[in-house]
Structures are given as C-alpha cells and as structure tokens.
C-alpha cells in the first residue's frame, strides 16, 4: 500500500528561499518575478515508492548502496556477458569504447589514460554509473548483485582488490581508490584570472612577426564540407598520418572515448571475415538474385534502415560496430560474422543452424528480445509492418 507523505499545508511552513548573494556574479533579475515568496501549492506530494524508484544515487561515502553483494569471479562472468563487447574481456576497451583498467601513472603524460583505476577518485561513481546507465542500450536492467559483481571485477582488473574480494555495503569502505587524492577544486580564480585581467596590448605585442608553426591541413582529419566524408575515407587519411601526435589517438580518444583506439588495425582485422562470409553465401546469392528484391521496397528499406544504422553497418567497407556488419545477412546462418562477440542466445541459435530468412528476420526485428530471449540487441523492435518488409528487402539486396 502506497504511503502518502504528510502534506505540509501552508506556504509558511515550507519556508521561503533565502537568496544567496555572496557571489560577485549574482544576476539582477529584471523580469519582476519575486526571488522568494509564498509557495503556490502546485504539484503534489511524492510517494515514497516514487522516490525509491527514481532516487537511486549513491554518494561518495556509500550512502544509497542497496543490500546485496558480488564477488570478483561472478563479476568476471557477468562482465563477459554484458560489458566485454565494448570494454573488452579484461576491461581494456574495444574499438573506441572506454578502457576501464590500467593507465596507472600516465596522468602527467601528454596522453593520459584515464581509467577507473588510474583516474576515478570515488568507488561510488563506478557502482552508481554501472547501475543507472549500463549496459549501453539496456540501462537499469542489471540486478544489484550483478552491479556489485561487475564493480568488484573492475576493481580486480585494476589490481585494487584481491581475487577473493566480495563487494557489499560492508566492504565498500575498505576499497582505496588509486587517484583519490588526485583532484583539486577549480583554482582558475587564483591561478589564471589575475594574470589575464587588465588592459591588453594593442601594438608591438610580439618580439618578432608571427610565423605559422602548425597547420590543420597537415593533419587532414576534417570531414568534407558537404559532410559526406565516410568513416572509411577518414580512416584511410588517419592511416596516412603516421606519427602526428595530435591525431586521432591523442585527441579523439581523450575527448570522449578510449585513448587507445587503433582503427587501422581494427579495419584490417575485420575485412577478412567479411570476405569469408561473402564467399560462403554464393548459393543463397543465386537464389536471391533469381527472385530479385523489389527495387522500390529496397529504396524504402534504405530509409527505414536508419533506425538500425546507429549500431549496424552495411554495404562496401561495412564493419562490426555495436552490432555485426550486415552484408550477406539474408540467407546466412545466425551468428556467423567472425570477430563479432555474440550473446549466448545467438550462439545457441547458430549451433542449431538457424538461418536468417524472411521468417526469422521478421520475427526477430519486430520484437528482438521477445523472439530471441537473451539477445543483446537493445532495440524496441520495428513496429511498422511496411518498414519491416522494406528493411528485409534492403538487407537482402546486399548479397555480395
């Protein structure tokens, strides 16, 4: 039974907000809305159950951690199932996804490797983030015990705990994060503002005329002006960069993702299996060609495929991303792209020899998790039947 919190009746009891004004940057509000005043009585009291459902934060001191526990070895298994496709078996990171382990003592390098081990100051952050936001595409689906286990495994992969470690509310406080003392509060008001404040120089500001020291065109990683530069072209250019230290590894990785991404090797490794798959498809190829997919349906499918394109590539040079590349998928055995890490559910279907055809693709794409319990494909499903038929025709048109 839901428990309604005691409604506080009057505005007076709620107390008015005192406006902080100690900051020199406080803004004057000229629109005439009172800065403080009586509450309007809008909204309704929150139920405890509602707060419990949404307020899942864990604070640095461990407040907010639920009951439960997880050990390193369970974490190893759970990590392999839910995390390793992006973060690697040993939390070393795959493609451009974040690396979670290692990188110790690199923070003063020009290319710091910022992992849970080398950089993250609070253990609570790991638990909270895995719990609320992971796995990517299926956030909030892990049990509390699984989150404890995954967190324990990430700690272990960073040598921060022993292999017999069990993480729980009780042991949370025992873990010492490597970079716990590595942060200072923003000190720009002291270290920067005084030296960059005042009347600036207007003439004869340099001892010698300015000379160009670096050019962006020497790096050559800018997308074409029409936005058309394909990733493969980009990677070709990156491959030609050689030792340019502010190239992809340096900058791309450190801005958002994994600093260790090496796309050239990745590309070489993934093209081979694609060819193997293609040659194995020759018989199906003939069948499909005989029937010939309806061109207008294929065109409609190309448009509808946009909802798949975030995770799947298709066509010339397609590579595995979050999902496997899809060239030749129509007519081939489920789970047969080499180098892609499939879920156990897909592997089982593969060993049974299930083939992607009209029927299986329709069922799967309409409701992935309903059709194949255990698939990692985090997609709500194609709800429009016309879109479904078009997408399948589009997939079938890539038989080479």
């Amino acid at each position: 039974v839901a428990t309604l919190r005691m409604q506080v009746e009057t505005a007076g009891q709620r107390g008015d907000v005192a406006l902080a004004s100690s900051s020199g940057t406080a803004t004057v509000h000229s629109q005439g809305v009172p800065a403080s005043g009586a509450a309007l009585g809008l909204g309704r009291p929150a139920f405890d159950e509602e707060i419990a459902a949404w307020d899942v934060k864990v604070l640095p001191d461990g407040r907010g951690l639920p009951e439960g526990s997880g050990d390193v070895w369970t974490g190893d298994e759970v990590f392999a199932e839910y995390c390793a496709a992006c973060h690697g078996d040993f939390a070393e990171g795959r493609d451009a996804w974040p690396v979670l382990a290692g990188g110790f003592d690199t923070l003063d390098d020009r290319d710091p490797v910022k992992t849970v081990g080398s950089y993250w100051p609070y253990l609570s952050t790991v638990w909270d983030y895995v719990h609320r936001s992971m796995p990517f595409g299926a956030a909030g689906t892990l049990t509390d015990d699984e989150v404890y286990a995954i967190t324990a495994y990430i700690l272990y992969s960073n040598d921060l705990v022993d292999e017999d470690f069990v993480l729980s509310r009780e042991t949370f406080g025992d873990v010492v994060m490597y970079n716990a003392d590595g942060f200072i509060v923003d000190d720009r008001p002291v270290t920067e503002y005084p030296i960059w404040t005042g009347e600036p120089c207007m003439s004869d500001c340099k001892s010698a005329p300015a000379e160009i020291t670096r050019r962006a065109t020497d790096v050559g990683v800018t997308p074409a002006d029409d936005g058309s530069m394909a990733e493969s072209q980009m990677e070709k250019e990156l491959a030609s960069l050689g030792g340019v230290e502010w190239g992809k590894e340096r900058v791309a990785g450190s801005v958002f993702m994994d600093p260790n991404a090496e796309p050239e090797e990745e590309a070489a490794a993934e093209e081979a299996p694609a060819e193997q798959v293609a040659s194995a498809e020759s018989t199906t190829d003939a069948t499909a060609a005989a029937e010939g997919p309806d061109p207008s349906l294929v065109a409609a499918g190309e448009s509808a495929f946009r909802q798949c394109a975030s995770c799947h590539q298709i066509g010339e040079g397609a590579k595995n991303r979050s999902g496997p590349q899809l060239n030749g998928v129509f007519g081939r055995v489920v789970g047969s792209v080499e180098g892609f890490r499939y879920s156990n559910a897909i592997k089982d279907a593969s060993s049974e020899g299930v083939v992607w055809d009209e029927e299986t693709l329709s069922g799967f794409l309409a409701d992935p998790k309903g059709y194949l319990n255990g698939t990692r494909m985090s997609f709500r499903g194609v709800k429009d039947e016309a879109d479904l038929a078009a997408i399948i025709a589009y997939l079938a048109s890539f038989q080479e």
């Binding site: 506080v8 709620r14 907000v17 005192a18 406080a26 809305v33 509450a39 309007l40 809008l42 309704r44 009291p45 929150a46 509602e50 949404w54 307020d55 604070l59 640095p60 451009a96 996804w97 923070l107 003063d108 710091p112 950089y119 609320r132 936001s133 595409g137 956030a139 590595g182 942060f183 200072i184 509060v185 923003d186 960059w196 404040t197 005042g198 207007m202 003439s203 004869d204 340099k206 005329p209 300015a210 000379e211 670096r214 050019r215 962006a216 065109t217 990683v221 997308p223 029409d226 936005g227 530069m229 990677e235 502010w246 791309a252 801005v255 958002f256 994994d258 975030s310 995770c311 979050s322």
Partner: protein
Amino acid sequence: QDGPDPLIIETQDWAMFTGDAVDATPYGMPIRFEADVIRRNVPWLTADPISSINFTPIHALDGTITPQGCAFERHHSGAIELAKEDYRLMLNGLVDQPLIFTYEDLERFPRENHVYFCECAANTGMEWAGAQLNGVQFTHGMIHNMEYTGIPLRTLLNEAGLGAAGDLADKWVYVEGADASSNGRSIPMEKALDDVIVAFKANGEALRKEHGYPVRLVVPGWEGNLWVKWLRRIEVTDVAVESREETSKYTDVLADGTARKWTWVMDAKSVITSPSPQQPITHGNGPLVITGLAWSGRGKITRVDVSKDGGMTWETARLGRQGDTKALTRFYLDTEWNGEPWLLQARAMDETGYVQPTKDQLREVRGENSIYHNNCIQTWALASDGRAENVEVS
C-alpha cells in the same frame, strides 16, 4: 558587367508564375539553397553516433540567436521521445515536502525569458595539442545561443521548501535526466538559487527533441553538460554526488597529473566566423566584413579586438549590439582587403576585465594533457586567394 543583366531585362519565372500556396510547408524548413547550413559531426570522435556530439554551422550564421534546427546536439544515450503527458518532474531530498510536477503544473508557475549561450566544455578541445580541424564549425561549433522561457529553479525549490536543508551555504542541487544515461550533475546551491532556469521553450517554440523536449535545465555561463535534458529529478543534497560526468569526465588534468574538478564556468572566448576555412573570401579585393562571436560565462562581453598579423597589432571591433550577460555577442570589423596574406585573430574581453588568452598562455598554466575549457585565441591564415586555414602561430 559587360552589358545589361538578363536577370533584370528579361522577365524571370518567379516574376511570372505563382509561388507556393500558404500551406505548402505548415512548419517550414530553410529554402533549398541553404541546404549546406546543417549540423555536422566528426565520425572519428566517438565510438558510435548515439553517445556523441555534432556541431553548429556557426560559419554560416549571423546575428546571435541559433535556430534550434541547427544547434549542436550532445547525447549520452541518444535523443529520446518523451511526451508532455508522460512528463514528470520530481523534487526531493532535503526539502520540506518532496513534490511531483506535471508539465501542466510547470506552465502555472511565473516564468521568465532570458538569452543564454550553451557551450560544451569540450568545445575547441580537439585543438589543445595543435591545429587540427579545418573549419570553425568543428573547432568552435559546440555552442548555441537561444532565448529560453522557463521557471527560475529557486521558484521550484521554494515550492518544496528549503527549511529542511538548514544552512544553504554548503548544500547542493543534484539534477538528472529521464534518458538512459540520466547524466546526473551536482550544482552548488548558490548557483541554483541564482540564475538557473527550468526551461520548456527555446526561441519561442517548444524545445526540440534533441534539446531535451519537453523540459531541460539552463545553467547560464556554465558548461553544457550541466544543462540536463529531459530533466526528471531535482534533489537537494548535503554533498556533491560525484557522478561519472563530474569525476571521470568534465575534469581537467594539469601538467603534473593533478586534475581540476568543479570547473563549471566557461571563460571569455571569441572566434572569427567569417572569413574562416568554410567561409573563404570569394568577392575579390575591396571592402570586407570580418565578423565573429564572443561570449563569457562570467558576464557581458565588453570589447573584442581583431588582429590581422597574428597578434602583433590589434584594432577594436564594433559590437553588433551591446553584450548580454552570458550570451553570444556578435562583432564586426568593417575593413578592406586587397589580397594580403593575413593571420586573423579575435580576442574577447568581458565585464570582469578578463582578456581571452592565447593557446600558449593556456598551455603554460595547464600543460598539454587537458581537453576541456580551451578558450584560446584562434588563428586563421588568410591566403591571397581568399582561402582561410586553421593554424597556430609563434
């Protein structure tokens, strides 16, 4: 012109036939001739386009207001669809009465209008170690500037009552979104009570899906990551939550490996948007308008200087309109160009007296392993053929 212009002396189709009827586009898009004015991304920046970012085409815009349709997007788990009728906002924690608001509830609070810029902390981050991306859209396009309509956050906090919070000086407000990432961030109470807005309209229309429809947070002058989209929960806490986005990301590593945290403010910055690599001079010699944008998270822009020789000499530009606090300011230098090779730079000053630093000055203080909060002076090398290129200078 050798003779009379056919466009003038001959009757053109558009002067003879009728154009579109009024309902041809019930909600219009730009005319097709402007089809290149679009957001663009840099595919190699991120592992996939869901947790990613794109860039505002600032090279092709003028004035200060960014149209929503081309304002940069940054998502951590993709742009979600959340209907107004499904929208709920929770306010809990150290408040007298935890409350739930619907979208309709929010529309009944007194509201305000303010123009503010929103800049990603990583804007210009790819340029730390050297000139890299050859276009102002890519070097400076993680920014937009809109007129927001919304409710001051302090009004909502007042509605729930802050008596339970006791002394407000050391309290925090934690905010999170309804999307799968939730992107939680902690904001000190002083800022929360100052100018933070819970917004539901931008530039007069509903927020676009990619900007947090139906409700987002607006945190003036502070890094874009704090501007939580699809805002679903506001909690008063006694400590900073130290979420993933305020520890592992959006912190600034210095040369010795120590990192600055809570670096929320975006310092004064400016950039020339035209001429620039995507906006070369094509009209030949003679009168030239140099224009660009300036902004400061610490107040109003008071002055912008422009250099044509890589920082040796400077002349003061004209502001399109007097600067608004924590909003984009447009500047113009009405000048003449006769094919000289120039090294173009802009340098902003704000009302605190702060002067935008050079990249070398930033590196001297912070080292070279930083990413965020790069507000350095940008250089474009203008060649005698009118093309411009992203460079660094001595």
